[in-house]
C-alpha cells in the first residue's frame, strides 16, 4: 500500500496571533511552527499501517523552503520520503490542485490529510483533493482500518459517530482518534539522524489559480473585565437581565 500524508505547517497552539503589513499578513515573528496536530494523528496512523500491514509512507507539503524542518520532523517520526511542492500555499483550492498532481503521479492508494489546519481552519483541502483525483472521501475520521482494498472508517458526526466503508483509493480528513495522544511519537536521536539521509524531493509547481484571497485580518475586540459576583442570586439576575442568555 502506498500512503501519502499531507502535512500542513502551522503555528504551535500556544502562539500569539499577530498581523503585519497593515494587518494583511500573519506575523511569523517569534512563532514556532509544527506539524498540524490533525496531520500528526494521521501520520502516526500511517506508521501503524507501515509497521503492522506493510506500506510505504510519503509526506507532502505545499509551501516554501521554510516548511522543510516540519517535513524533516515527519521523516524523523518515520515517513520514508518527503515531497515539497514549491508553491506558496495561497488558498485551499490551489494547494489541493498541487496535491492532486502529486497524488496522480505517485499512484497512492490512501491519502491522509487532517480535518482542518489550525491556522486558517479551512477544512477543505482533503475533500478537494479527493474530488480532483476521483478518489473516495471520508472526513472527520476517528478510526481507520484497511483490509485488502477496502477501508472501514469511523467518522465523528455532531452528537455521535458513524461507520463508513469505501474502496481504495481513498482520501481522509483525520483527527484525534485515528490514534490517541499517547501514541504520538517524539522523534528520537536515531530517527533524527536517519531523517537527514532520507529523500526530501522538491517538486515544481503546476499551474493552479487561487480562488480566494485573504485581504485583511483583525483580532477580536478586547474583552471587558470579568464581572465578579458574590452570590448565585446576582449571577442568575445578570445572566437573565444583562446577558439575556437564560
Amino acid at each position: 500500500m502506498k500512503i501519502l500524508v499531507c502535512i500542513s505547517h502551522v503555528p504551535d497552539t500556544t502562539s500569539k496571533i499577530n498581523f503585519t503589513d497593515g494587518d494583511s499578513k500573519f506575523d511569523t515573528n517569534g512563532v514556532q511552527f509544527v506539524i498540524n496536530p490533525n496531520d500528526e494523528f494521521g501520520l502516526t496512523r500511517a506508521m501503524w499501517f507501515k509497521e503492522k500491514q506493510g506500506a510505504t509512507v510519503h509526506v507532502v507539503n505545499v509551501g516554501g523552503a521554510e516548511t522543510e524542518p516540519t517535513l524533516r520532523k515527519a521523516l524523523a517520526i518515520g515517513a520514508d520520503e518527503a515531497i515539497r511542492v514549491d508553491a506558496p500555499a495561497t488558498d485551499g483550492f490551489s494547494v489541493a490542485k498541487q496535491l492532486a498532481n502529486v497524488v496522480k503521479e505517485g499512484g497512492y492508494d490512501l491519502v491522509i490529510g487532517g480535518r482542518e489546519s489550525i491556522d486558517y481552519n479551512g477544512g477543505m483541502v482533503p475533500g478537494m483533493v479527493a474530488k480532483l483525483t476521483g478518489a473516495n472521501f471520508i472526513n472527520t475520521c476517528i478510526g481507520l482500518e484497511i483490509d485488502g482494498t477496502t477501508a472501514t472508517a469511523t467518522r465523528e458526526i455532531d452528537g455521535g459517530k458513524e461507520t463508513l466503508r469505501a474502496e481504495l483509493p481513498l482520501v481522509i480528513g483525520g483527527q484525534k482518534g485515528l490514534v490517541e495522544e499517547s501514541d504520538l511519537r517524539i522523534p528520537n536521536m536515531r530517527g533524527i539522524m536517519q531523517a537527514r539521509k532520507k529523500p526530501l524531493n522538491v517538486k515544481e509547481a503546476v499551474d493552479a489559480n487561487a480562488e480566494t484571497e485573504a485581504v485583511h485580518f483583525a483580532k477580536p475586540a478586547p474583552k471587558g473585565d470579568v464581572k465578579l459576583v458574590e452570590t448565585v442570586d446576582e449571577l442568575v439576575d445578570l445572566l437573565h437581565n444583562e446577558a439575556k442568555v437564560i
Binding site: T13, F93, E162, R165
Partner: protein
Amino acid sequence: MSILVYTESEEGKYKKIAQEAVSFARGIADKMDMSVTAVAINGGDASELEKCGANKVLQVKDDALKNFNAAAYADVLAQAAKKEEAKVVVVSSSANAKFLAPLLAVNLDAGYVPNVSELPESTSPFKVKHSVFTNKAFATTEIKTDIKVVGLAKNAYGVHENHADATIEDFAPELSSDDYNVETVSVDKATDKVTIADAEIVVSGGRGLKGPENWDMIEEMADILGAATACSKPVSDMGWRPHSEHVGQTGKPVASNLYIAIGISGAIQHLAGINASKTKVVINNDPEAPFFKAADYGIVGDAFEVVPKLNEKLKEFKAQNA
C-alpha cells in the same frame, strides 16, 4: 439568479441551523437582489423555511438518500445550483456540511470560505469575514470565482424571521452509482441528549471537580438549563467523562450562547475551543485562575458549595419564568 441554501433536517424536522442558513441566504439575496432557493433532502415542513425568507423550496424525496452521503448530497446541491443559476451556495458548519462543501466547491468551480460570521462586507467584489486561527482572529477574504460557496459559522447569525411565500417544487437529481461509493455501515448517535454542537448552553467541568462521582451536580445543572455537558481535556483523558465531551483546541469547538466553566483553569488550549461562545461564566476557587481573564462573569468560590446553590436558584428561576 439565486442564492441556494442547503437545509439540514433530521427525521423530517428541520434543524435550527437550517433556519439560520436560510436567514443568512436571505440577507445575501437582499444585498444582491436575488431570490433564495432552499434545497431540502427528505426535509420537513416547508413553511419553516418560508418563514425565514425562502422563495422556493426544492424538495428531494429519495430513500437512497436516507442516510447522509457527502458525495451524493454534494451532487444534489451542484445540480440544483446549476438549475437555479445560483451565484452563492450557503451551507452550515455542521460536520456533514463541512464534509460535503469541498466536494461541492470543486464540482461548481466555486471558491469556498467556511466559518463566515457576518453578511458579506461587499458583494462585488465578494468579501466575507470569517474566523481563523481557531477563533483567535478574523480574516476578510475575497472570493474571486463566479459561483461562491459560503459556510456560515455556528451560532453567529441567528434565525431571522422574514416571511416569503415559497413555491414548492419536487426535484429529482440524476445520481450515478459513483455517488454511493462510500457506504454507511452504521450510525451511533445519542438522540436523547443535547449535543455540544447544537446546544445554546454548555455546562463544562474540569479537574477541579476532583472525580467522576462529582458530576451529578453538573448533569443536574445541564438538565435544568436544557444544556449540553462538556469537560476539559484531562478530565476525558482520565476517563472521568467520555471523549466526545472534551472541548478545546484538540477537542470540540463550542459556539454556544452561554458557557459555564466549573473547576477549569482556563489554559490557552482550552480557551481556543470556546472563544466563539458569547457569554462565559467561570466558577473557580482560585482568583488567579487564567479563566477569569477570559470570562464575562465569575464567582470565586468552591464549586462544591457554589454549584448546588446555583442549581437551586436556577430551578427557582425556571419555575418562575416557565
